[in-house]
């Protein structure tokens, strides 16, 4: 019942988001017809193209038309490239997904030990140093961090390429070298957020009675930390990971531009510059669906981590 309720709510969110974006994109100045034909085209040619593309229909009709297509998996055909938007997105999606997953693996892989170490020594030198470091990471815009990393690793030391992308299918090794720098750039900020969240929650958990009692049973600090304290402290972290995964699909725009990766973000930016509404709209759908799906998954993960939630 709860699951169904949530699914319906998420579906409503999807419809509202796509409608808003559709309207907004169409209300903005700029015209795909001008973009295609140029400023010197005759009024007649423009009208004909308008009709061809279906742009003479009212906005609502166009939206419903597009939504109906979407329900059958059809994202529409780009006005500009005359290519199906769906296949274009499908081609770009693996790049963005790989980047996202790699960034989360790096962020979580480091955030858990860092957060645990800081919580164990709360208030002491190591904790303060880690807190300061994560604060600094949080305050570094991705493009600044990306530029610095390129400067150090690609320009000065030349251990990885500065830009470019090699698909996994071509060569795994090259693929990894091309994803490592963007993934670190994207993951650094997340690392800081995750480590801070985990630290705060762990400190609270470590003050619980059941932790003191675990000590009273003669269990080692290591065992108490990893087996007793970590899981009850993970709820906020999981929420954050979920929200981030959803939000980051749009946030890879900068990274993909900076590192020249052919991902969804890059496609959206290029489409914005070329007034390719339907492709932008397709990107929006992809991002919103991603957000919604991730959120739904997070709810399921909650129940796995905290048995108290299963009751609800």
């Amino acid at each position: 019942m709860i699951v169904l309720h949530r699914l319906i709510r998420l579906l409503v969110v999807l419809v509202v988001v796509t409608f808003l974006s559709f309207v907004l994109l169409n209300l903005l100045p700029g015209d795909p017809v001008t973009q295609i034909l140029g400023l010197s085209a005759t009024e007649e040619a423009r009208a004909q193209l308008r009709q061809e593309l279906g742009l003479d229909q009212p906005l609502l009709v166009r939206y419903l038309d597009w939504l109906g297509g979407l329900a059958t998996g059809d994202f529409g055909t780009s006005y500009i490239t005359r290519m199906p938007v769906g296949s274009e997105l499908a081609e770009r999606l693996p790049v963005t997904l790989e980047l996202l997953v790699a960034a989360q693996v790096i962020a979580l892989g480091l955030a858990i030990p860092v957060g645990v170490a800081a919580a164990r020594r709360a208030g002491r030198a190591l904790d303060q140093a880690l807190t300061a470091l994560s604060f600094a990471l949080l305050s570094t815009p991705v493009f600044v961090l990306g530029v610095l990393l390129i400067l150090v690793f690609a320009v000065t030391w030349q251990v990885v390429p500065a830009t470019g992308w090699t698909p996994i299918s071509l060569d795994l090794g090259w693929n990894l070298t091309s994803v490592i720098l963007p993934a670190v750039t994207l993951g650094a900020g997340q690392l800081a957020v995750y480590a801070r969240l985990l630290r705060t929650d762990l400190i609270a958990t470590l003050q619980e009675d059941y932790i003191t009692l675990a000590r009273a049973r003669g269990l080692s600090p290591r065992r108490i930390l990893w087996r007793h304290a970590l899981r009850p402290s993970a709820i906020t972290l999981i929420t954050a990971v979920g929200l981030n995964l959803g939000a980051l699909i749009g946030g890879t725009v900068i990274i993909e531009t900076l590192f020249g990766l052919p991902g969804v973000g890059r496609l959206i930016v290029d489409s914005i510059f070329s007034r390719d509404y339907l492709t932008v709209q397709g990107g929006v759908v992809l991002i919103s669906v991603g957000y919604v799906v991730v959120n739904f998954t997070v709810d399921l993960v909650y129940a796995a981590v905290d048995p108290r939630i299963r009751r609800a």
Binding site: F135, V142, V144, R217, G218, P232, G250, I254
Partner: protein
């Protein structure tokens, strides 16, 4: 209490001030204008004339960074004000007029979070024109949902507070309440978020500029400068580094100031400040080691708190033999629980412990952490007050009961499971095999306390410490649990240390009693003797405060006047004197030692001991009336 903000906060404020000032006075500063080409040789490094060097066209980088600050800070301030202007009234309304607005806000939040904000900022700016006004409006509007959420949250916490409810009850007009009570209280979180919002907007504007979608050339922006600079990275890295560092420092400063302002109002983190100073070390003492199971000699535990030194346990001594129950009684804050934790060595890191604890002649205070762990569980078992918080909520009962068995007794998983089922059965849990698979929240309070007792008993301890084991339970369950403890003591020939403020429990189950007040033992002896003939006025008062079945109808319970003393910097003399009817000058000057009364085990600390049973106090409180005995504890937990 005013908290120090630290050097970082002031440095951050200083940097923000400096950047603001430089941006405002850019035209007056003595450097070439941002667009003057060939102000110096192109791509030259830092020099006296051009502190940050020059870019590819020979333009002064310092000048370009300072002029870039105008755009960043201008957009930042404008967008934050716009977001606040729209978001704050909506947020206050939503928080104050809860019902209708709540649903709307939730829905809007859902949509706003699923909305790809950056993509929209890009689209709007690209289509509507990349200029200062459009960037400012877009970033301002995109910030509105966060502002609404924040202000609504802050309003909600205050709208439910007593002073606002009181004003509402008094019929004060809503508008007046909003302006007088709510707006001033929401101001601090709003100010904090304004700084954090500045950081967010500066980064967002930078991102747009980096993609070429902010204020257009020739006006410099930080994001644009970084984008330009990265093409020169190999030959002139300073061109990209200068705006990067300026941007980093600015964002860091805004975040830092916002974070510090937030922590002013956040009570959750206020307890985490490190106490740098440890309590002064306590002198080592030597005692004759007696042939008993547990001997505690002159145990002391001191803490340094922000307010001063707290002597939570102050020179407690006792001995305990196998098969006997020792009760420790006293009001909340008398040091009972702290005494238990001191014996077990489960103290927070900032405390200092003195004295000795001998377990069958071995000094536990000389044990290393690892040695202590081998004693905790197998020789010393522990049960805490609240079974709701004593079990880990995310692990099954089975995992938790089996763990000490596997760690200390090296049982296999299968053996441990069988043993755990036996243990649960022995503490009266029906269908133990099924319960092993359950989670704590699926059991009742009484069941949970049985589980924690089973866990404490699992490694066959010699001494069981039970810290108010029944206080959090239903009256009907209390007696069952105490019977269980008693029966286990008999069966396993253990000693039990029972902490309680419930005198009827103590009278019925304890062999010996220790009465604690302000961290010290004020009376001790065999339970029957102490109850029949209390010597210390505090013990007497405790007994009189406990109701008895033999009391006549409408009998008035006596309460102990005053409150337990503040343990920070206790004055000299007897700690109880302020609440004592018999106190005189001597009590003021000198703390009474523990006088011996007849024999070594019977002692009291008082200059004016009660000599005979006062009216009606001779009878021990009836153990049949466990429910009303709570009155003995005047301080709430």
């Amino acid at each position: 209490m005013r908290r120090r903000q630290g050097l970082g906060f002031w440095l951050a404020l200083g940097w923000i001030g400096l950047i603001l000032l430089a941006a405002l006075l850019a035209d007056l500063l003595p450097f070439a204008r941002y667009d003057e080409t060939l102000a110096g040789p192109p791509q030259s490094g830092p020099s006296a004339a051009h502190p940050f060097g020059t870019d590819g066209l020979g333009r002064d980088v310092l000048s370009r960074v300072v002029y870039g600050a105008r755009v960043s800070l201008g957009v930042g301030i404008g967008a934050v004000l716009l977001g606040l202007g729209i978001g704050a009234p909506l947020g206050i309304l939503a928080g104050y007029r809860r019902k209708a607005a709540d649903a709307v806000i939730m829905a809007v939040n859902d949509v706003a979070q699923a909305f790809p904000a950056l993509v929209f900022a890009l689209a709007v700016v690209a289509f509507a024109g990349a200029n200062l006004r459009n960037v400012l409006i877009v970033l301002g509007v995109l910030g509105v949902p966060s502002w609404v959420r924040l202000i609504r949250g802050a309003t909600l916490t205050f709208a439910e507070r007593e002073f606002v409810l009181a004003a509402r009850v008094l019929g004060t007009r809503d508008r007046r309440i909003l302006w007088r009570e709510i707006v001033p209280n929401v101001a601090v979180p709003a100010a904090s978020y304004a700084f954090i919002g500045m950081a967010v907007v500066v980064v967002a504007e930078g991102s747009l500029a980096f993609l070429g979608l902010s204020v257009q050339a020739p006006t410099p922006t930080w994001g644009g400068l970084i984008n330009e600079g990265r093409t020169l990275m190999e030959t002139a890295p300073h061109v990209v580094l200068a705006p990067s560092i300026a941007m980093f420092l600015t964002v860091l400063s805004f975040n830092l100031v916002g974070d510090r302002l937030r922590s002013l109002t956040d009570v959750r983190e206020s307890g985490l400040e490190p106490v740098r100073q440890a309590a002064p070390a306590l002198p080592a003492t030597t005692h004759p080691v007696r042939d008993v199971l547990l001997q505690v000699e002159d145990l002391r535990t001191h803490f340094v708190t922000p307010r001063g030194l707290v002597k939570a346990v102050d020179g407690v001594s006792f001995t305990l033999e196998r098969g006997r129950t020792l009760a420790i009684v006293g009001e909340s804050g008398s040091g009972k629980s702290m005494l238990i934790r001191s014996i077990l060595g489960l103290l927070p890191g900032t405390s200092v412990r003195g004295g000795n604890v001998y377990l069958a002649g071995d000094d536990l205070t000389s044990y290393t952490a690892a040695e202590m762990r081998s004693v905790l569980g197998p020789r010393l078992g522990t049960v805490f007050q609240d079974p709701m918080t004593a079990l880990n909520p995310v692990r099954t009962i089975g995992t938790q009961v089996m763990e000490p068995l596997r760690v200390h007794m090296s049982l296999t998983r299968r053996q441990a499971r069988a043993e755990a089922a036996k243990l649960l059965a022995s503490v009266g849990i029906p269908d133990p095999v099924r319960i092993l698979r359950r989670y704590p929240h699926q059991l009742s309070g009484g069941m949970r306390q049985r589980v924690t007792i089973a866990m404490a008993l699992s490694c066959r301890p010699d001494v069981l410490f039970a810290d108010e084991p029944t206080t959090a339970l239903d009256v009907t369950i209390q007696d069952q649990v105490l019977r269980l403890l008693h029966r286990q003591r008999e069966e396993r020939d253990m000693a039990v240390v029972l902490v309680s403020h419930d005198l009827s429990v103590v009278a019925r189950w304890a062999d010996e009693v220790i009465v604690m007040y302000a961290g010290k033992v004020v009376e001790r002896g065999p339970a029957a003797e102490v109850f029949a003939r209390p010597r210390m006025p505090y013990t007497e008062a405790l007994l009189q405060a406990a109701p008895r079945l033999t009391d006549p109808v409408h009998h008035r319970l006596r309460v102990i006047p005053g409150r337990p003393p503040d343990l920070v910097d206790l004055p000299e003399g007897c700690a109880f004197r302020a609440r004592c009817a018999y106190a005189d000058e001597r009590c003021e000057r000198e703390a009474p030692p523990l006088f011996e009364d007849g024999h070594d085990r019977r002692r009291y600390a008082c200059w004016h001991p009660r000599t005979q049973a006062q009216d009606g106090t001779a009878a021990a409180p009836s153990s049949d009336v466990t429910d009303v005995a709570e009155g003995a504890e005047s301080g709430g937990r």
